[in-house]
Symmetry: C2
């Protein structure tokens, strides 16, 4: 079973990587660039019986830093 975890920085947390991307895009001549935020996309191949609670525990224990990051679980 394929599962996707989207890990994004919480609102208010500075994102220097996103700022760098915004500047670089402007430097390349693209206009109208606003806020840019960079997150992670983790694709896991899990056994079919894996429960939602287990996946949530994986996120909280390892995949996301819940102090500064939000996560969203998407089961395929």
């Amino acid at each position: 079973m394929k599962t996707r975890i989207h890990v994004t920085l919480k609102t208010g947390v500075l994102d220097p990587q996103g700022r760098a991307i915004a500047h670089a895009l402007e430097g390349l001549g693209f206009a109208g660039i606003g806020d840019v935020r960079v997150g992670k996309l983790i694709e896991l191949e899990l056994a079919d019986g894996t429960s939602d609670a287990d996946i949530d525990a994986m996120c909280r224990k390892l995949l996301a830093n819940t102090v500064i990051e939000n996560y969203r679980i998407e089961r395929a």
Copy 2:
């Protein structure tokens, strides 16, 4: 206009970060972990008139390394 870019490694490209995550999850006691792949999720706030061609150009020129990465554009 909010736009999400999903950048993922192409099939066949080794993903040491994904391997490390798989090992760490097993170390934490989770069973049934198969392949794990880590990609990037880039959220851009763009001007409303930005064309699909422009967004595609941003991906090819800066956001993804098309030698080893695929990208998918999701307009909100």
